[in-house]
Protein backbone atom coordinates (compact mmCIF):
# COMPACT_ATOMS: atom_id res chain seq x y z
CA UNK A 1 0.00 0.00 0.00
CA UNK A 2 1.41 3.41 -0.86
CA UNK A 3 2.36 5.70 1.97
CA UNK A 4 -0.21 8.29 0.98
CA UNK A 5 -3.05 5.79 0.98
CA UNK A 6 -6.21 6.99 2.67
CA UNK A 7 -7.10 5.07 5.80
CA UNK A 8 -10.43 5.33 7.55
CA UNK A 9 -10.33 6.92 10.97
CA UNK A 10 -10.94 3.51 12.56
CA UNK A 11 -8.00 1.94 10.75
CA UNK A 12 -5.84 4.94 11.61
CA UNK A 13 -6.74 4.61 15.30
CA UNK A 14 -5.80 0.95 15.30
CA UNK A 15 -2.53 1.66 13.54
CA UNK A 16 -1.73 4.41 16.04
CA UNK A 17 -2.67 2.17 18.98
CA UNK A 18 -0.26 -0.50 17.80
CA UNK A 19 2.37 2.16 17.28
CA UNK A 20 1.71 3.38 20.82
CA UNK A 21 2.58 -0.03 22.19
CA UNK A 22 -0.77 -1.74 22.42
CA UNK A 23 0.42 -4.81 20.65
CA UNK A 24 -2.37 -7.28 21.47
CA UNK A 25 -5.86 -7.37 20.00
CA UNK A 26 -7.60 -6.83 23.30
CA UNK A 27 -5.35 -3.96 24.35
CA UNK A 28 -6.02 -2.26 21.00
CA UNK A 29 -9.72 -2.62 21.70
CA UNK A 30 -9.31 -1.07 25.10
CA UNK A 31 -7.22 1.78 23.87
CA UNK A 32 -9.44 2.66 20.92
CA UNK A 33 -12.78 1.72 22.47
CA UNK A 34 -13.67 -0.27 19.39
CA UNK A 35 -15.45 -3.65 19.69
CA UNK A 36 -13.75 -6.92 18.86
CA UNK A 37 -15.87 -7.44 15.77
CA UNK A 38 -14.34 -4.29 14.29
CA UNK A 39 -10.76 -4.43 15.53
CA UNK A 40 -9.77 -7.90 14.33
CA UNK A 41 -11.05 -7.57 10.73
CA UNK A 42 -9.36 -4.18 10.52
CA UNK A 43 -6.09 -5.59 11.81
CA UNK A 44 -6.30 -8.43 9.30
CA UNK A 45 -6.71 -5.91 6.50
CA UNK A 46 -3.83 -3.84 7.78
CA UNK A 47 -1.75 -7.00 7.92
CA UNK A 48 -2.79 -8.00 4.43
CA UNK A 49 -1.77 -4.57 3.16
CA UNK A 50 1.62 -4.90 4.81
CA UNK A 51 1.17 -2.09 7.34
CA UNK A 52 1.49 -4.39 10.35
CA UNK A 53 2.80 -7.90 10.96
CA UNK A 54 1.68 -10.39 13.55
CA UNK A 55 3.60 -13.04 15.42
CA UNK A 56 2.77 -15.60 18.05
CA UNK A 57 4.81 -15.33 21.19
CA UNK A 58 6.94 -18.30 22.15
CA UNK A 59 5.12 -21.18 23.72
CA UNK A 60 7.82 -21.46 26.43
CA UNK A 61 7.07 -17.94 27.68
CA UNK A 62 3.36 -18.66 27.86
CA UNK A 63 3.99 -21.99 29.55
CA UNK A 64 6.18 -20.32 32.14
CA UNK A 65 3.38 -17.90 32.98
CA UNK A 66 0.75 -20.66 32.80
CA UNK A 67 -1.39 -18.94 30.16
CA UNK A 68 -2.13 -19.36 26.48
CA UNK A 69 0.31 -17.75 24.05
CA UNK A 70 -0.82 -14.42 22.63
CA UNK A 71 -0.50 -13.03 19.17
CA UNK A 72 1.13 -9.65 19.00
CA UNK A 73 1.27 -7.05 16.30
CA UNK A 74 3.82 -4.44 15.29
CA UNK A 75 4.11 -1.84 12.60
CA UNK A 76 6.15 -2.46 9.48
CA UNK A 77 8.22 0.21 7.82
CA UNK A 78 5.38 0.84 5.37
CA UNK A 79 3.00 1.08 8.32
CA UNK A 80 5.15 3.71 9.97
CA UNK A 81 5.37 5.82 6.84
CA UNK A 82 1.62 5.45 6.28
CA UNK A 83 1.03 6.57 9.84
CA UNK A 84 3.15 9.67 9.23
CA UNK A 85 0.90 10.49 6.29
CA UNK A 86 -2.20 9.76 8.33
CA UNK A 87 -1.21 12.34 10.99
CA UNK A 88 -1.69 15.03 8.38
CA UNK A 89 -5.19 13.80 7.66
CA UNK A 90 -6.20 13.22 11.29
CA UNK A 91 -4.26 15.82 13.32
CA UNK A 92 -5.99 14.87 16.58
CA UNK A 93 -4.99 11.25 16.33
CA UNK A 94 -1.80 11.69 18.30
CA UNK A 95 -3.65 13.51 21.06
CA UNK A 96 -6.18 10.72 21.35
CA UNK A 97 -3.55 8.00 21.43
CA UNK A 98 -0.16 9.46 22.29
CA UNK A 99 2.82 8.00 20.50
CA UNK A 100 5.66 6.54 22.57
CA UNK A 101 8.20 9.11 23.78
CA UNK A 102 11.15 8.31 21.47
CA UNK A 103 8.91 8.78 18.45
CA UNK A 104 7.83 12.19 19.79
CA UNK A 105 11.39 13.27 20.19
CA UNK A 106 12.31 12.17 16.72
CA UNK A 107 9.44 14.06 15.21
CA UNK A 108 10.17 17.18 17.15
Amino acid sequence: MPADAKLSHTAAMILQAIHAGQIYGFSVMEMTGLPSGTVYPAMRRLERDGLIVSKWEQQSIADAEQRPPRKYYRLTRAGKSTLEAVYRRYPLLERMIPSPEPEHEVRR
Binding site: M1, A5, K6, L7, S8, T10, A11, Y24, G25, F26, M29, E30, P35, S36, G37, T38, V39, Y40, P41, A42, R44, R45, L46, D49, L51, W56, R67, P68, P69, R70, K71
Partner: protein
Amino acid sequence: MKPASTHTAQLARLIVRSASLLVPHRNRSAWRAEWTAELWHLCHRRCCEPGDAPDADPVEFSLGAFHDAFWLRCDRIRSSGLPMLQPGSAARCALLLSAIALTALVLCLCLPGARSALLPLSRRGAGNLVMISSDGYAGTQAPSIRLADYQEWTTDTAALFTEIAFYRPAAKSVHLPRRPAARLAIAQASDNLLQLLNLPVAHAGTSVAEPGQRRLILARSAWRRIYGGDPHLVGRIAEIDGQSVLIAAIMPDGDWHFAGHIDALLLENQRNLAALPSTTKGFVVARIRPSAFPAPRGGWRKMVETRNGVTRGFECISVTHTLGQPFSVFLFALLLASLALPATTALPLGDYPLRHRRLPGTIDGRRWIFLAAKFLLILAIVDLCSTGLAYGLAASDPIRALYIQLATAFPALLFGFRWILQDQRRRCPECLRLLSNPARVGQASCNFLSWNGTELFCARGHGFLHIPELPTSWFSTQRWLCLDPSWLCLFPEPRSASPGMV
Protein backbone atom coordinates in the same frame (compact mmCIF):
# COMPACT_ATOMS: atom_id res chain seq x y z
CA MET B 1 -13.00 -4.83 37.28
CA LYS B 2 -13.93 -7.96 39.12
CA PRO B 3 -12.50 -11.24 37.94
CA ALA B 4 -14.97 -12.76 35.56
CA SER B 5 -17.12 -15.40 37.19
CA THR B 6 -16.58 -18.99 36.19
CA HIS B 7 -19.96 -19.15 34.50
CA THR B 8 -19.32 -16.01 32.48
CA ALA B 9 -15.90 -17.27 31.41
CA GLN B 10 -17.34 -20.63 30.40
CA LEU B 11 -20.12 -18.95 28.46
CA ALA B 12 -17.62 -16.69 26.71
CA ARG B 13 -15.42 -19.67 25.80
CA LEU B 14 -18.45 -21.51 24.45
CA ILE B 15 -19.38 -18.51 22.31
CA VAL B 16 -15.85 -18.23 20.99
CA ARG B 17 -15.79 -21.92 20.18
CA SER B 18 -19.14 -21.62 18.35
CA ALA B 19 -17.98 -18.58 16.44
CA SER B 20 -14.80 -20.37 15.40
CA LEU B 21 -16.93 -22.98 13.62
CA LEU B 22 -18.00 -20.25 11.22
CA VAL B 23 -14.41 -19.39 10.36
CA PRO B 24 -13.03 -21.05 7.20
CA HIS B 25 -11.32 -24.29 8.16
CA ARG B 26 -7.88 -23.15 7.04
CA ASN B 27 -7.80 -20.25 9.52
CA ARG B 28 -9.98 -21.71 12.24
CA SER B 29 -7.35 -22.90 14.70
CA ALA B 30 -5.37 -19.64 14.50
CA TRP B 31 -8.43 -17.49 15.10
CA ARG B 32 -9.68 -19.68 17.90
CA ALA B 33 -6.25 -19.55 19.56
CA GLU B 34 -6.09 -15.77 19.32
CA TRP B 35 -9.62 -15.26 20.64
CA THR B 36 -9.06 -17.75 23.43
CA ALA B 37 -5.79 -16.13 24.46
CA GLU B 38 -7.27 -12.65 24.51
CA LEU B 39 -10.30 -13.93 26.36
CA TRP B 40 -8.05 -15.54 28.96
CA HIS B 41 -6.30 -12.24 29.54
CA LEU B 42 -9.59 -10.39 29.67
CA CYS B 43 -10.94 -12.77 32.32
CA HIS B 44 -7.79 -12.93 34.43
CA ARG B 45 -6.45 -9.43 34.11
CA ARG B 46 -7.71 -8.21 37.46
CA CYS B 47 -5.81 -11.04 39.11
CA CYS B 48 -2.62 -10.50 37.16
CA GLU B 49 -2.62 -6.73 36.66
CA PRO B 50 -4.38 -5.07 39.58
CA GLY B 51 -5.69 -1.54 39.17
CA ASP B 52 -6.18 -1.87 35.47
CA ALA B 53 -8.49 0.10 33.28
CA PRO B 54 -12.04 0.02 32.22
CA ASP B 55 -14.41 -2.88 32.53
CA ALA B 56 -14.78 -5.23 29.61
CA ASP B 57 -17.38 -7.89 29.38
CA PRO B 58 -16.01 -11.29 28.28
CA VAL B 59 -19.35 -12.19 26.72
CA GLU B 60 -19.41 -8.97 24.76
CA PHE B 61 -15.86 -9.60 23.60
CA SER B 62 -16.68 -13.15 22.54
CA LEU B 63 -19.85 -12.09 20.70
CA GLY B 64 -17.64 -9.89 18.56
CA ALA B 65 -16.04 -13.12 17.36
CA PHE B 66 -19.18 -13.81 15.33
CA HIS B 67 -18.66 -10.51 13.55
CA ASP B 68 -15.06 -11.46 12.86
CA ALA B 69 -16.10 -14.87 11.55
CA PHE B 70 -18.77 -13.35 9.32
CA TRP B 71 -16.28 -10.88 7.91
CA LEU B 72 -13.83 -13.72 7.25
CA ARG B 73 -16.46 -15.68 5.35
CA CYS B 74 -17.43 -12.68 3.24
CA ASP B 75 -13.79 -11.82 2.63
CA ARG B 76 -13.11 -15.36 1.50
CA ILE B 77 -16.01 -15.27 -0.94
CA ARG B 78 -14.85 -11.91 -2.25
CA SER B 79 -11.28 -13.03 -2.67
CA SER B 80 -12.24 -16.33 -4.30
CA GLY B 81 -14.14 -14.39 -6.95
CA LEU B 82 -17.46 -16.14 -6.37
CA PRO B 83 -20.02 -13.77 -7.81
CA MET B 84 -23.02 -15.18 -5.92
CA LEU B 85 -22.98 -12.71 -3.05
CA GLN B 86 -21.77 -9.67 -4.92
CA PRO B 87 -24.62 -7.17 -5.00
CA GLY B 88 -25.94 -6.43 -8.44
CA SER B 89 -24.13 -9.27 -10.18
CA ALA B 90 -25.82 -11.27 -12.93
CA ALA B 91 -25.16 -14.52 -11.09
CA ARG B 92 -26.90 -13.23 -8.00
CA CYS B 93 -29.91 -12.18 -10.08
CA ALA B 94 -30.08 -15.59 -11.80
CA LEU B 95 -29.61 -17.36 -8.49
CA LEU B 96 -32.44 -15.40 -6.90
CA LEU B 97 -34.81 -16.07 -9.79
CA SER B 98 -33.88 -19.77 -9.74
CA ALA B 99 -34.57 -19.93 -6.00
CA ILE B 100 -37.99 -18.34 -6.50
CA ALA B 101 -38.79 -20.78 -9.31
CA LEU B 102 -37.69 -23.72 -7.19
CA THR B 103 -39.77 -22.55 -4.24
CA ALA B 104 -42.81 -22.13 -6.49
CA LEU B 105 -42.26 -25.63 -7.89
CA VAL B 106 -42.07 -27.15 -4.42
CA LEU B 107 -45.23 -25.31 -3.34
CA CYS B 108 -47.05 -26.50 -6.47
CA LEU B 109 -46.04 -30.08 -5.84
CA CYS B 110 -47.26 -29.80 -2.25
CA LEU B 111 -50.74 -28.59 -3.26
CA PRO B 112 -52.68 -31.58 -4.59
CA GLY B 113 -54.84 -29.58 -7.00
CA ALA B 114 -51.88 -27.66 -8.36
CA ARG B 115 -49.81 -30.84 -8.69
CA SER B 116 -52.38 -32.56 -10.89
CA ALA B 117 -52.76 -29.39 -12.96
CA LEU B 118 -49.01 -29.18 -13.33
CA LEU B 119 -48.45 -32.84 -14.19
CA PRO B 120 -51.61 -33.71 -16.10
CA LEU B 121 -50.04 -36.23 -18.43
CA SER B 122 -48.58 -38.44 -15.77
CA ARG B 123 -51.72 -40.56 -15.54
CA ARG B 124 -51.38 -43.83 -17.36
CA GLY B 125 -53.54 -44.29 -20.44
CA ALA B 126 -55.03 -40.80 -20.28
CA GLY B 127 -54.54 -40.38 -24.02
CA ASN B 128 -57.64 -42.40 -24.97
CA LEU B 129 -59.91 -41.05 -22.26
CA VAL B 130 -62.73 -38.76 -23.34
CA MET B 131 -65.62 -37.04 -21.62
CA ILE B 132 -68.82 -37.21 -23.61
CA SER B 133 -70.83 -34.03 -23.58
CA SER B 134 -73.96 -32.78 -25.29
CA ASP B 135 -73.08 -29.20 -24.44
CA GLY B 136 -69.54 -28.69 -25.67
CA TYR B 137 -66.85 -27.78 -23.13
CA ALA B 138 -69.51 -26.66 -20.63
CA GLY B 139 -70.72 -30.25 -20.61
CA THR B 140 -67.49 -31.32 -18.96
CA GLN B 141 -68.24 -29.04 -16.02
CA ALA B 142 -72.01 -29.57 -15.62
CA PRO B 143 -73.99 -32.80 -16.06
CA SER B 144 -75.29 -33.06 -19.63
CA ILE B 145 -75.80 -36.75 -20.41
CA ARG B 146 -78.99 -38.56 -19.42
CA LEU B 147 -78.69 -41.87 -17.63
CA ALA B 148 -80.83 -43.47 -20.32
CA ASP B 149 -78.34 -42.47 -23.01
CA TYR B 150 -75.47 -43.89 -20.98
CA GLN B 151 -77.31 -47.16 -20.46
CA GLU B 152 -77.91 -47.51 -24.18
CA TRP B 153 -74.28 -46.70 -24.99
CA THR B 154 -73.04 -49.42 -22.65
CA THR B 155 -74.48 -51.94 -25.08
CA ASP B 156 -74.53 -50.06 -28.39
CA THR B 157 -71.11 -48.47 -28.60
CA ALA B 158 -68.74 -51.40 -28.14
CA ALA B 159 -67.24 -50.52 -31.52
CA LEU B 160 -66.44 -46.98 -30.37
CA PHE B 161 -65.49 -47.38 -26.72
CA THR B 162 -63.67 -50.11 -24.88
CA GLU B 163 -65.03 -48.89 -21.54
CA ILE B 164 -67.65 -46.38 -20.54
CA ALA B 165 -68.59 -45.10 -17.07
CA PHE B 166 -71.15 -42.75 -15.58
CA TYR B 167 -71.22 -40.56 -12.51
CA ARG B 168 -73.45 -37.83 -11.14
CA PRO B 169 -72.71 -35.51 -8.21
CA ALA B 170 -75.23 -35.40 -5.39
CA ALA B 171 -75.24 -34.36 -1.74
CA LYS B 172 -76.08 -37.23 0.56
CA SER B 173 -76.10 -37.94 4.29
CA VAL B 174 -73.80 -40.71 5.45
CA HIS B 175 -74.76 -42.44 8.69
CA LEU B 176 -72.28 -44.44 10.73
CA PRO B 177 -73.00 -46.13 14.06
CA ARG B 178 -71.95 -43.99 17.05
CA ARG B 179 -71.15 -41.04 14.79
CA PRO B 180 -73.25 -38.04 13.81
CA ALA B 181 -74.60 -38.07 10.28
CA ALA B 182 -72.29 -36.33 7.83
CA ARG B 183 -73.43 -34.53 4.71
CA LEU B 184 -71.04 -35.37 1.87
CA ALA B 185 -70.74 -34.35 -1.76
CA ILE B 186 -70.88 -37.78 -3.36
CA ALA B 187 -70.38 -38.84 -6.96
CA GLN B 188 -72.79 -41.67 -7.56
CA ALA B 189 -70.95 -43.70 -10.18
CA SER B 190 -70.93 -46.91 -12.12
CA ASP B 191 -68.67 -49.46 -10.47
CA ASN B 192 -66.10 -49.46 -13.31
CA LEU B 193 -65.20 -45.78 -12.84
CA LEU B 194 -62.11 -46.40 -10.72
CA GLN B 195 -60.59 -48.86 -13.20
CA LEU B 196 -61.47 -46.65 -16.14
CA LEU B 197 -59.74 -43.60 -14.63
CA ASN B 198 -56.81 -45.62 -13.25
CA LEU B 199 -57.37 -43.95 -9.91
CA PRO B 200 -55.12 -45.28 -7.17
CA VAL B 201 -56.71 -46.02 -3.81
CA ALA B 202 -55.00 -46.11 -0.45
CA HIS B 203 -55.92 -47.76 2.83
CA ALA B 204 -58.02 -50.35 1.05
CA GLY B 205 -59.83 -52.51 3.57
CA THR B 206 -59.32 -56.22 3.96
CA SER B 207 -63.05 -56.91 3.75
CA VAL B 208 -64.39 -57.74 0.32
CA ALA B 209 -67.68 -56.30 -0.86
CA GLU B 210 -70.42 -58.79 -1.55
CA PRO B 211 -71.71 -58.97 -5.13
CA GLY B 212 -74.03 -56.09 -5.76
CA GLN B 213 -73.02 -54.25 -2.59
CA ARG B 214 -72.55 -50.51 -2.90
CA ARG B 215 -69.02 -49.27 -2.14
CA LEU B 216 -67.98 -45.87 -0.85
CA ILE B 217 -64.51 -44.52 -1.72
CA LEU B 218 -63.71 -41.54 0.49
CA ALA B 219 -61.45 -38.71 -0.62
CA ARG B 220 -58.48 -38.32 1.72
CA SER B 221 -59.41 -34.72 2.60
CA ALA B 222 -62.96 -35.72 3.57
CA TRP B 223 -61.65 -38.72 5.50
CA ARG B 224 -59.42 -36.42 7.55
CA ARG B 225 -61.90 -33.55 7.86
CA ILE B 226 -65.01 -35.46 8.74
CA TYR B 227 -63.72 -38.66 10.29
CA GLY B 228 -60.47 -37.36 11.77
CA GLY B 229 -58.38 -39.79 9.68
CA ASP B 230 -59.84 -42.79 11.55
CA PRO B 231 -57.71 -45.78 10.38
CA HIS B 232 -60.48 -48.23 11.27
CA LEU B 233 -63.06 -46.58 9.07
CA VAL B 234 -62.27 -48.67 6.00
CA GLY B 235 -64.28 -51.89 6.04
CA ARG B 236 -67.14 -50.46 8.10
CA ILE B 237 -70.71 -50.37 6.92
CA ALA B 238 -72.39 -46.98 6.54
CA GLU B 239 -75.92 -46.12 5.54
CA ILE B 240 -76.82 -43.84 2.63
CA ASP B 241 -80.42 -43.29 1.54
CA GLY B 242 -81.46 -46.11 3.86
CA GLN B 243 -79.20 -48.62 2.13
CA SER B 244 -76.03 -50.15 3.49
CA VAL B 245 -72.73 -49.14 1.90
CA LEU B 246 -69.29 -50.62 2.46
CA ILE B 247 -66.58 -48.01 3.05
CA ALA B 248 -64.09 -49.69 0.76
CA ALA B 249 -61.06 -47.39 0.44
CA ILE B 250 -59.55 -43.92 0.67
CA MET B 251 -58.44 -42.19 -2.53
CA PRO B 252 -55.88 -39.40 -2.85
CA ASP B 253 -57.15 -35.88 -3.52
CA GLY B 254 -56.69 -34.12 -6.79
CA ASP B 255 -55.91 -37.16 -8.94
CA TRP B 256 -58.97 -36.50 -11.02
CA HIS B 257 -60.67 -33.23 -11.79
CA PHE B 258 -64.23 -34.16 -10.91
CA ALA B 259 -66.55 -31.34 -11.80
CA GLY B 260 -67.51 -29.67 -8.55
CA HIS B 261 -66.28 -30.63 -5.11
CA ILE B 262 -66.40 -34.38 -4.48
CA ASP B 263 -65.96 -35.93 -1.02
CA ALA B 264 -66.54 -39.54 -2.02
CA LEU B 265 -67.38 -41.92 -4.85
CA LEU B 266 -70.38 -44.19 -4.40
CA LEU B 267 -69.82 -47.13 -6.76
CA GLU B 268 -72.94 -48.98 -7.80
CA ASN B 269 -73.62 -51.74 -10.25
CA GLN B 270 -75.81 -51.27 -13.31
CA ARG B 271 -78.87 -52.71 -11.55
CA ASN B 272 -78.67 -50.14 -8.74
CA LEU B 273 -78.04 -47.33 -11.21
CA ALA B 274 -81.08 -48.38 -13.15
CA ALA B 275 -83.17 -47.54 -10.10
CA LEU B 276 -82.44 -43.86 -10.76
CA PRO B 277 -84.84 -41.91 -13.01
CA SER B 278 -83.78 -42.34 -16.64
CA THR B 279 -83.71 -38.57 -17.13
CA THR B 280 -81.08 -38.14 -14.42
CA LYS B 281 -78.18 -36.21 -15.89
CA GLY B 282 -74.58 -36.93 -15.18
CA PHE B 283 -71.09 -37.16 -16.69
CA VAL B 284 -69.94 -39.94 -18.97
CA VAL B 285 -66.29 -40.90 -19.25
CA ALA B 286 -65.16 -43.38 -21.87
CA ARG B 287 -62.04 -44.96 -23.26
CA ILE B 288 -62.22 -44.74 -27.04
CA ARG B 289 -60.98 -47.14 -29.68
CA PRO B 290 -58.53 -44.92 -31.61
CA SER B 291 -59.35 -46.72 -34.85
CA ALA B 292 -63.00 -45.81 -34.50
CA PHE B 293 -62.42 -42.04 -34.55
CA PRO B 294 -60.56 -39.92 -37.06
CA ALA B 295 -57.62 -37.86 -35.81
CA PRO B 296 -58.99 -35.27 -33.38
CA ARG B 297 -58.80 -31.53 -33.93
CA GLY B 298 -57.95 -29.73 -30.74
CA GLY B 299 -58.78 -32.81 -28.71
CA TRP B 300 -62.42 -32.87 -29.84
CA ARG B 301 -64.21 -35.73 -31.59
CA LYS B 302 -67.78 -35.71 -32.78
CA MET B 303 -70.20 -38.57 -32.21
CA VAL B 304 -73.53 -38.57 -33.98
CA GLU B 305 -76.36 -40.79 -32.88
CA THR B 306 -79.58 -41.46 -34.74
CA ARG B 307 -82.32 -43.11 -32.76
CA ASN B 308 -86.01 -43.31 -33.57
CA GLY B 309 -85.46 -40.98 -36.49
CA VAL B 310 -83.88 -38.30 -34.28
CA THR B 311 -80.27 -37.36 -34.87
CA ARG B 312 -78.25 -36.00 -31.96
CA GLY B 313 -74.62 -34.99 -31.75
CA PHE B 314 -72.28 -35.43 -28.84
CA GLU B 315 -68.75 -34.19 -28.33
CA CYS B 316 -66.07 -36.54 -27.12
CA ILE B 317 -63.57 -34.19 -25.48
CA SER B 318 -60.14 -35.61 -24.81
CA VAL B 319 -59.28 -35.67 -21.12
CA THR B 320 -55.67 -34.91 -22.00
CA HIS B 321 -56.89 -31.80 -23.77
CA THR B 322 -59.01 -30.82 -20.78
CA LEU B 323 -56.17 -31.44 -18.35
CA GLY B 324 -53.83 -29.42 -20.57
CA GLN B 325 -56.06 -26.37 -20.17
CA PRO B 326 -53.85 -24.70 -17.52
CA PHE B 327 -50.90 -24.62 -19.88
CA SER B 328 -53.11 -23.43 -22.74
CA VAL B 329 -54.37 -20.60 -20.54
CA PHE B 330 -50.79 -19.73 -19.64
CA LEU B 331 -49.86 -19.61 -23.32
CA PHE B 332 -52.84 -17.36 -23.95
CA ALA B 333 -51.73 -15.05 -21.11
CA LEU B 334 -48.23 -15.07 -22.61
CA LEU B 335 -49.63 -14.00 -25.98
CA LEU B 336 -51.65 -11.19 -24.36
CA ALA B 337 -48.66 -10.00 -22.34
CA SER B 338 -46.41 -10.03 -25.41
CA LEU B 339 -48.95 -7.93 -27.30
CA ALA B 340 -49.43 -5.51 -24.41
CA LEU B 341 -45.74 -5.11 -23.58
CA PRO B 342 -44.88 -2.53 -26.29
CA ALA B 343 -47.69 -0.33 -24.96
CA THR B 344 -46.16 -0.22 -21.50
CA THR B 345 -42.43 0.10 -22.16
CA ALA B 346 -39.96 0.64 -24.95
CA LEU B 347 -38.56 -2.56 -26.37
CA PRO B 348 -35.09 -1.44 -27.54
CA LEU B 349 -32.34 -2.14 -25.06
CA GLY B 350 -30.28 0.89 -26.05
CA ASP B 351 -27.32 1.75 -28.21
CA TYR B 352 -24.31 -0.39 -27.30
CA PRO B 353 -21.36 0.23 -29.62
CA LEU B 354 -19.49 -2.78 -28.27
CA ARG B 355 -18.04 -3.76 -31.59
CA HIS B 356 -16.11 -0.49 -31.83
CA ARG B 357 -13.89 -1.77 -29.07
CA ARG B 358 -13.28 -5.09 -30.77
CA LEU B 359 -14.47 -7.00 -27.76
CA PRO B 360 -14.78 -10.74 -28.09
CA GLY B 361 -18.16 -11.93 -29.27
CA THR B 362 -18.58 -13.98 -26.10
CA ILE B 363 -19.22 -10.81 -24.08
CA ASP B 364 -22.06 -9.79 -26.33
CA GLY B 365 -23.31 -13.39 -26.40
CA ARG B 366 -23.24 -13.62 -22.64
CA ARG B 367 -25.44 -10.56 -22.42
CA TRP B 368 -28.04 -12.16 -24.65
CA ILE B 369 -27.81 -15.47 -22.84
CA PHE B 370 -28.45 -13.66 -19.56
CA LEU B 371 -31.47 -11.94 -21.08
CA ALA B 372 -32.83 -15.25 -22.37
CA ALA B 373 -32.24 -16.93 -19.00
CA LYS B 374 -34.21 -14.19 -17.26
CA PHE B 375 -37.09 -14.63 -19.69
CA LEU B 376 -37.12 -18.40 -19.16
CA LEU B 377 -36.99 -18.09 -15.38
CA ILE B 378 -39.76 -15.47 -15.29
CA LEU B 379 -41.90 -17.71 -17.51
CA ALA B 380 -41.34 -20.65 -15.19
CA ILE B 381 -42.03 -18.58 -12.07
CA VAL B 382 -45.25 -17.09 -13.44
CA ASP B 383 -46.47 -20.45 -14.77
CA LEU B 384 -45.82 -22.18 -11.45
CA CYS B 385 -47.16 -19.38 -9.27
CA SER B 386 -50.32 -18.79 -11.30
CA THR B 387 -51.05 -22.52 -11.54
CA GLY B 388 -50.37 -23.00 -7.84
CA LEU B 389 -52.54 -20.04 -6.88
CA ALA B 390 -55.43 -20.94 -9.19
CA TYR B 391 -55.59 -24.65 -8.42
CA GLY B 392 -54.65 -24.17 -4.79
CA LEU B 393 -57.60 -21.80 -4.32
CA ALA B 394 -60.12 -23.41 -6.66
CA ALA B 395 -59.11 -27.01 -7.22
CA SER B 396 -62.74 -28.09 -7.15
CA ASP B 397 -63.87 -25.61 -9.79
CA PRO B 398 -61.68 -25.88 -12.89
CA ILE B 399 -63.47 -23.08 -14.72
CA ARG B 400 -62.90 -20.64 -11.86
CA ALA B 401 -59.32 -21.87 -11.60
CA LEU B 402 -58.75 -21.09 -15.28
CA TYR B 403 -60.05 -17.54 -14.79
CA ILE B 404 -57.88 -17.06 -11.71
CA GLN B 405 -54.88 -18.36 -13.62
CA LEU B 406 -55.51 -16.00 -16.53
CA ALA B 407 -56.10 -13.05 -14.19
CA THR B 408 -52.82 -13.67 -12.36
CA ALA B 409 -50.60 -14.86 -15.20
CA PHE B 410 -51.28 -11.93 -17.55
CA PRO B 411 -50.28 -9.05 -15.23
CA ALA B 412 -47.45 -11.09 -13.73
CA LEU B 413 -46.00 -11.77 -17.19
CA LEU B 414 -46.47 -8.17 -18.26
CA PHE B 415 -44.71 -6.75 -15.21
CA GLY B 416 -42.13 -9.53 -15.33
CA PHE B 417 -41.21 -8.68 -18.92
CA ARG B 418 -41.09 -4.98 -18.09
CA TRP B 419 -38.73 -5.70 -15.21
CA ILE B 420 -36.53 -7.89 -17.42
CA LEU B 421 -36.09 -5.13 -19.98
CA GLN B 422 -35.54 -2.42 -17.38
CA ASP B 423 -33.06 -4.59 -15.51
CA GLN B 424 -31.19 -5.39 -18.71
CA ARG B 425 -30.94 -1.72 -19.61
CA ARG B 426 -29.45 -0.89 -16.20
CA ARG B 427 -26.61 -3.41 -16.50
CA CYS B 428 -23.09 -3.00 -17.77
CA PRO B 429 -22.91 -4.84 -21.11
CA GLU B 430 -19.44 -6.19 -20.26
CA CYS B 431 -19.63 -7.43 -16.67
CA LEU B 432 -23.48 -7.54 -16.48
CA ARG B 433 -23.44 -5.87 -13.07
CA LEU B 434 -26.04 -3.26 -12.20
CA LEU B 435 -24.87 0.25 -12.94
CA SER B 436 -24.67 2.61 -10.02
CA ASN B 437 -24.34 6.23 -8.93
CA PRO B 438 -27.04 7.87 -11.05
CA ALA B 439 -26.37 11.56 -11.68
CA ARG B 440 -28.61 14.08 -13.37
CA VAL B 441 -26.93 15.98 -16.17
CA GLY B 442 -28.10 19.16 -17.89
CA GLN B 443 -31.35 21.03 -17.59
CA ALA B 444 -34.55 20.46 -19.47
CA SER B 445 -34.77 24.18 -20.32
CA CYS B 446 -31.26 24.25 -21.80
CA ASN B 447 -31.21 21.32 -24.14
CA PHE B 448 -30.67 23.16 -27.40
CA LEU B 449 -27.83 21.29 -29.10
CA SER B 450 -27.23 19.54 -25.84
CA TRP B 451 -29.01 16.97 -23.79
CA ASN B 452 -30.29 16.42 -20.32
CA GLY B 453 -30.86 13.17 -18.58
CA THR B 454 -29.25 10.69 -16.21
CA GLU B 455 -25.82 9.14 -16.23
CA LEU B 456 -24.88 5.91 -14.52
CA PHE B 457 -21.52 4.21 -14.46
CA CYS B 458 -20.13 0.75 -14.05
CA ALA B 459 -18.27 0.48 -10.75
CA ARG B 460 -15.62 -1.59 -12.51
CA GLY B 461 -14.93 1.21 -14.93
CA HIS B 462 -16.25 -0.38 -18.11
CA GLY B 463 -18.20 2.69 -19.12
CA PHE B 464 -21.04 5.17 -18.73
CA LEU B 465 -24.69 4.92 -19.61
CA HIS B 466 -26.41 8.08 -20.80
CA ILE B 467 -30.19 8.03 -20.52
CA PRO B 468 -31.92 11.01 -22.15
CA GLU B 469 -34.81 12.46 -20.22
CA LEU B 470 -36.53 13.62 -23.39
CA PRO B 471 -35.81 11.52 -26.48
CA THR B 472 -34.70 13.72 -29.33
CA SER B 473 -33.84 13.06 -32.95
CA TRP B 474 -30.13 13.05 -32.08
CA PHE B 475 -30.44 11.25 -28.75
CA SER B 476 -33.46 9.01 -28.88
CA THR B 477 -32.42 6.09 -26.73
CA GLN B 478 -29.99 5.34 -23.95
CA ARG B 479 -26.40 5.21 -25.11
CA TRP B 480 -23.45 3.30 -23.70
CA LEU B 481 -20.06 4.95 -23.66
CA CYS B 482 -17.15 2.51 -23.39
CA LEU B 483 -14.12 3.56 -21.37
CA ASP B 484 -10.70 2.26 -22.25
CA PRO B 485 -8.55 0.66 -19.53
CA SER B 486 -6.66 3.91 -18.86
CA TRP B 487 -9.70 5.10 -16.89
CA LEU B 488 -9.72 2.12 -14.54
CA CYS B 489 -7.66 3.86 -11.86
CA LEU B 490 -10.65 6.11 -11.15
CA PHE B 491 -12.87 3.22 -10.18
CA PRO B 492 -12.59 1.43 -6.85
CA GLU B 493 -13.97 -2.02 -7.67
CA PRO B 494 -11.08 -3.72 -9.49
CA ARG B 495 -8.86 -3.13 -6.47
CA SER B 496 -9.22 -5.22 -3.34
CA ALA B 497 -10.83 -3.81 -0.23
CA SER B 498 -8.53 -1.51 1.64
CA PRO B 499 -8.33 -0.75 5.36
CA GLY B 500 -10.18 2.43 4.55
CA MET B 501 -13.31 0.33 4.12
CA VAL B 502 -13.45 -0.69 7.79
